[in-house]
C-alpha cells in the first residue's frame, strides 16, 4: 500500500445530532446516499420481533409530502435506484443517482425521518407482503436451517430472533406500536448519513443542513449497552425439511466489531473458506470429498455474534464424521499458528476486498455508514495497517478465546 491512500472522509455533526460523512469520488458522475438508523432486531423484545424490519417497509408507504409509491416514482423519474435493508443493529436506506440530480434523495430522507405515515390500509397490505417474504425465506434451501440455528445459539440475546420477525409477531403488530418505535429511534441523533460520489464536501454539507436543519432533535434514543456473548453450550438440532442433499450449518461464537479480536476473525474467516487453498475447502471438497460447497460468514455486529459455517454435503456424507473433522480443523486453528504464507494470503484477501469495495459509491457508503452506525467511527482509516500488523499467534489466540469451549450450534437438514 505504498502508492495508494484511502480517499479522505469529511465528517460533520449537525446541531440536531445527525452525523454526516462525505467521501468525494469523481471517477463516475454518480452519487450514493445512505442513511442508517441505529435500530434493528437487537432492540426488539418478544412479541415485537420484526418491528424494525416492518418499519423499513413502511418507510416507502407515504409521508407528509409523498404518497404511497411516490418515493419509487421520483427515484425512477430521476433515473435512480433505491432500496433498504435491516440488520441486527441498524436499518439502512439508500439512493443512487446521477451526480446532477442526487439532492432529491436528501429531500425524501429528511421528510420521512420525521413525517412518515402509518396508514392502516397500507399497513395491512404490507403485513401480507412481509409474511410472504418470510415464507420465501423459509423456502430457501438454507432459510429454515439458519433460523433454527440462530434461535438455538443464544439463550436470551435478541440476536436469536430472525430479523424479519416471528410470523405470529408480524401478524399481531399494530400501527400504533410501530409509530412508537419510529418516534423512539428515527431521530437525527440516532442516524448517520453517508454521501459518496461526484460531489463537493462543502456543497454537500450546506445542502444537508438545508434539508435537515428543520428536523427536531427529539428525545435521544434509549441506550442499550453492549452485551456479552452468551452462547449456549454445544447444541445439535435436526431440522425437518425436504431436501435433495444434506446441509450442515454450524454457528460458532464470534467477537463483536468493538472487540479487538474481530480483525483476527477476518483472517480466520478467509483462512477457513476463501478460495481453493482455504482449510475447509481443502478438507471437505478436495481431500474427503464430503462436500461440494463450503462457505463461512462473519458478521459485523454491535454485540458478539456468530461465525456461520455452511457445508453442502454429498448425499452419502456421514454427518458425524463431517462434524468431527470440522471440530478438528477448528481446534487446530486454536492450537497452531497459521503458516506464514497462509497468513499473508488471508491478509491480501482482506485488503484487496477493501480496495475492490472502493470501486462503487454504493460500497463506499456501505463501508462508511455501517461502521458509523455500529459506533466504530474511523474503522476503515487504519484498516489496512491493522490487518497488516496481525501476527499468526494473535490470530491463534483469538480463535482459542472464542472457540475452545466448543460452544457451538450444529444444525442439519438431512436429505430425503
Amino acid at each position: 500500500m505504498t502508492r495508494f491512500r484511502v480517499p479522505p472522509v469529511h465528517r460533520h455533526r449537525l446541531d440536531n445530532g445527525l452525523t454526516l460523512l462525505v467521501r468525494p469520488d469523481h471517477t463516475s458522475p454518480v452519487v450514493t446516499t445512505m442513511i442508517c438508523y441505529r435500530v434493528g432486531s437487537r432492540v426488539e423484545t418478544p412479541g415485537l420481533t420484526g418491528i424494525s424490519h416492518f418499519l423499513e417497509h413502511m418507510m416507502f408507504k407515504g409521508t407528509g409530502r409523498y404518497g404511497p409509491g411516490e418515493i419509487d416514482r421520483i427515484t425512477a423519474l430521476h433515473g435512480g435506484s433505491n432500496n433498504a435493508f435491516t440488520t441486527q443493529d441498524y436499518t439502512a436506506y439508500f439512493f443512487s443517482f446521477a451526480a446532477d440530480r442526487w439532492v432529491c434523495a436528501l429531500d425524501i430522507e429528511a421528510d420521512r425521518m420525521s413525517n412518515n405515515r402509518f396508514d392502516p390500509r397500507q399497513f395491512e397490505l404490507e403485513r401480507q407482503v412481509i409474511l410472504e417474504e418470510s415464507k420465501m425465506e423459509q423456502d430457501h434451501p438454507w432459510g429454515a436451517l439458519r433460523r433454527s440455528v440462530e434461535m438455538k445459539a443464544f439463550e436470551s440475546h435478541p440476536y436469536r430472533f430472525p430479523i424479519i420477525g416471528l410470523s405470529r409477531d408480524i401478524q399481531a403488530l399494530t400501527p400504533e406500536q410501530m409509530l412508537e418505535h419510529y418516534r423512539r429511534y428515527y431521530v437525527p441523533e440516532n442516524a448517520v448519513l453517508a454521501v459518496a460520489g461526484d460531489t463537493d464536501p462543502e456543497f454537500t454539507l450546506r445542502t444537508v443542513e438545508q434539508f435537515f436543519q428543520q428536523t427536531a432533535s427529539g428525545d435521544p434514543p434509549p441506550v442499550l449497552p453492549p452485551r456479552e456473548a452468551e452462547n449456549r453450550g454445544r447444541v445439535k438440532i435436526n431440522v425437518r425439511r425436504r431436501s435433495r442433499v444434506p446441509r450442515m450449518l454450524v454457528a460458532l461464537p464470534a467477537p463483536s466489531i468493538h472487540q479487538s479480536d474481530h480483525d483476527a476473525f477476518q483472517i480466520l474467516d478467509r483462512a477457513l473458506s476463501e478460495g481453493r487453498l482455504s482449510r475447509l475447502y481443502r478438507k471437505f471438497v478436495e481431500e474427503t470429498r464430503l462436500a461440494s460447497l463450503v462457505h463461512t460468514e462473519l458478521g459485523d455486529t454491535f454485540d458478539p455474534y456468530l461465525l456461520l459455517i455452511r457445508l453442502e454435503l454429498r448425499e452419502d456424507a456421514d454427518l458425524q464424521q463431517t462434524e468431527e473433522l470440522l471440530f478438528q480443523e477448528l481446534m487446530q486453528l486454536c492450537t497452531s499458528p497459521l503458516a506464514g504464507k497462509e497468513l499473508t494470503r488471508a491478509k491480501n484477501q482482506c485488503i484487496n476486498q477493501f480496495l475492490f469495495e472502493l470501486e462503487t459509491t454504493f460500497d463506499q457508503c456501505m463501508q462508511l455508514a455501517s461502521m458509523e452506525a455500529l459506533q466504530r467511527p474511523g474503522y476503515w482509516d487504519d484498516y489496512v495497517a491493522r490487518i497488516s500488523r496481525l501476527t499468526a499467534e494473535e490470530v491463534m489466540a483469538a480463535a482459542a478465546r472464542h472457540w475452545s469451549g466448543r460452544r457451538w450450534t450444529v444444525g442439519v437438514v438431512e436429505s430425503g
Partner: protein, 423 residues
C-alpha cells in the same frame, strides 16, 4: 467517464483485445470471453461447456491446479469461470502489480489447459452434488422447467450444469474435444479495465496469446428455437414448501432485434422498472399484497441467442389463483392498452438517467465493452442511447408488446406443495 482511454486491438489470429484505463484504484479487472457456451453443447451432452470452463482452473502446461490457486489467492485476487448461453468466461480481479502474472495465467487457461483426469473426477462429482442441491431452490426449479419448454429440442433446454445423467456420462476426452473445437483466438474477446496502460496490456497479450493458433476451431450455431404454437402448463410438486411459484413465459428476442430498445421501455413499464413502479409489482405486491417478489422481463435475457419472456410471482398456496390470474391479467391489459403517457415518460427517464451506472466499476465497464463489441455498438452508442429510448412512443410500445408478448401460446409453470397444484 472511464471509457476515455478505450482502445481496441485485433491480432492476426483474430483475437480481440478491448482495454480501458481507470487509474483511481490500484486494481485491474481481466476478463476473457470465449463465444461458446451452453448453446454449443452437443444435444446429447448438456453441461459440457460448463464443465469445460470449470476445468480450465485445474491445470495448464505451465501451472498445476495448486499453482493456479497459489498464484491468484496468495496475491489476494479473485478468479472465477462461468458459462452462459452464448459464452464462457474467465474473470480475474487483481491488484495492478499482479497484472503480468494474471494475464499469463489467463492465457495459459485459455490456450494450454491440460484437463488432468484426476481433477476431472472431482469436478464431475462436485457438479453432480450441485445439480441435486439446485433442485432445492424453487426459483431455480421453475426457471429450468420453463427453459425446457421454451428451448425444446435444442441445447438451451437443459440447465447450464447439465443433467445428472449427462454429467455421469462425461469422459475427460469429451472436455478436451470441446476445448479443441471451441476455444480459439478468433472466438475470444479479452477485456482489461483498470490501472494499466493500453500499450502495456497489448504488449503482455502479444507475448501470451499472439501466437495462439486457431487449430481445429469450428464455428457452430445452435438451431434457432421456435415460438410455441399452443399453450402449455407444467406443474411440479415441491413437498413441504410454504409457497407456490408461478412463472409464465415464452421465447423472446435477440439483443440485435430492431425492437430491442422499444422492448426495454416495455419492460420498464410492465415488470422490471425500479422499486415497485412498474405495473406487475405495483399492482400485485403494493396494491394487493400478494407477494414479496413479482416481476417480468424480456430484454434482460436477450443476447446473441433469443432470450425469454419471464413473468414470475411466488405466493401462499391460498393466493395461487389470484396470483396466476393477476399476473396474466396485467400482461393482457398491457397488450391491450399499452402504456399511459405518464408510464412511458417515467420509463424513459429511468432508462436514460440510470445508463450512467453501467460504468461504475471496472467489472461494469468490462461488461459494457463486451456488449458493445458483440452487438456492434459503436462510439456513438453512449450519445445515441438516450435518443433511441427517448423517441419511443406509446404506440410503438403497444406494437412491440402485441408482437412479442403472447398470452395464448405461452407456458405456465406452477411449482409448490401438492395441494396447491391439484385444482
Amino acid at each position: 467517464m472511464v471509457l476515455d482511454g478505450f482502445e481496441r486491438r485485433v491480432w492476426d489470429n483474430g483475437l480481440v483485445l478491448l482495454s480501458c484505463r481507470n487509474d483511481r484504484l490500484p486494481v485491474v479487472s481481466v476478463n476473457a470471453f470465449v463465444l461458446s457456451g451452453t448453446g454449443q453443447n452437443p444435444l446429447r451432452q448438456p453441461g459440457l461447456a460448463a464443465l469445460a470452463s470449470r476445468m480450465l482452473e485445474e491445470g495448464t502446461a505451465k501451472y498445476g491446479a495448486d499453482d493456479i490457486s497459489r498464484l491468484v489467492e496468495d496475491a489476494g485476487g479473485n478468479l472465477s469461470t462461468f458459462c452462459q448461453h452464448e459464452l464462457t468466461g474467465i474473470s480475474l480481479h487483481l491488484r495492478d502489480r499482479d497484472l503480468q502474472e494474471g494475464l499469463d495465467l489467463l492465457a495459459q487457461m485459455l490456450s494450454r489447459p491440460t484437463f488432468p483426469r484426476e481433477r476431472f473426477d472431482l469436478e464431475r462429482e462436485k457438479a453432480l452434488t450441485q445439480l441435486e442441491a439446485l433442485e432445492d431452490d424453487p426459483q431455480v426449479v421453475v426457471s429450468n422447467l420453463l427453459n425446457r419448454e421454451i428451448y425444446e429440442g435444442g441445447p438451451l433446454q437443459f440447465p447450464t450444469l447439465g443433467t445428472p445423467a449427462s454429467v455421469r456420462r462425461f469422459r475427460i476426452e469429451d472436455i478436451r474435444e470441446f476445448h479443441r473445437l471451441r476455444y480459439a483466438p478468433t472466438n475470444t474477446i479479452l477485456v482489461v479495465v483498470g490501472n494499466t496502460g493500453s500499450a502495456q496490456v497489448a504488449d503482455l497479450v502479444d507475448r501470451c496469446l499472439g501466437s495462439w493458433g486457431n487449430g481445429h476451431y469450428r464455428r457452430s450455431q445452435p438451431p434457432a428455437p421456435r415460438r410455441q404454437r399452443a399453450p402449455r402448463t407444467r406443474q411440479r410438486v415441491l413437498e413441504g414448501r410454504e409457497q407456490v411459484h408461478i412463472c409464465l413465459g415464452h421465447l423472446g428476442v435477440t439483443r440485435d432485434h430492431p425492437d430491442f430498445y422499444a422492448l426495454q421501455v416495455m419492460d420498464a413499464v410492465l415488470g422490471s422498472g425500479p422499486g415497485f413502479t412498474s405495473r406487475i409489482p405495483r399492482e400485485l405486491r403494493d396494491r394487493r399484497g400478494l407477494a414479496y417478489t413479482t416481476y417480468s422481463d424480456l430484454t434482460g435475457s436477450a443476447g446473441r441467442y433469443p432470450g425469454r419472456f419471464f413473468a414470475y410471482i411466488c405466493t401462499s398456496p391460498s393466493n395461487r389463483q389470484a396470483a396466476l390470474s393477476g399476473l396474466l391479467g396485467e400482461i393482457e391489459s398491457f397488450i391491450e392498452d399499452g402504456p399511459t403517457e405518464e408510464e412511458l415518460a417515467l420509463a424513459q427517464k429511468y432508462l436514460t438517467g440510470s445508463f450512467v451506472f453501467d460504468f461504475q466499476s471496472n467489472a461494469h465497464v468490462a461488461r459494457f465493452l463486451l456488449t458493445a463489441e458483440l452487438f456492434d455498438l459503436d462510439g456513438d452508442y453512449i450519445r445515441l442511447y438516450p435518443e433511441w429510448i427517448g423517441t419511443v412512443d406509446a404506440e410503438e410500445v403497444k406494437r412491440v408488446a402485441r408482437l412479442h408478448l403472447d398470452t395464448v401460446n405461452f407456458t405456465a409453470i406452477i411449482a409448490g406443495p401438492e395441494y396447491a397444484l391439484t385444482r
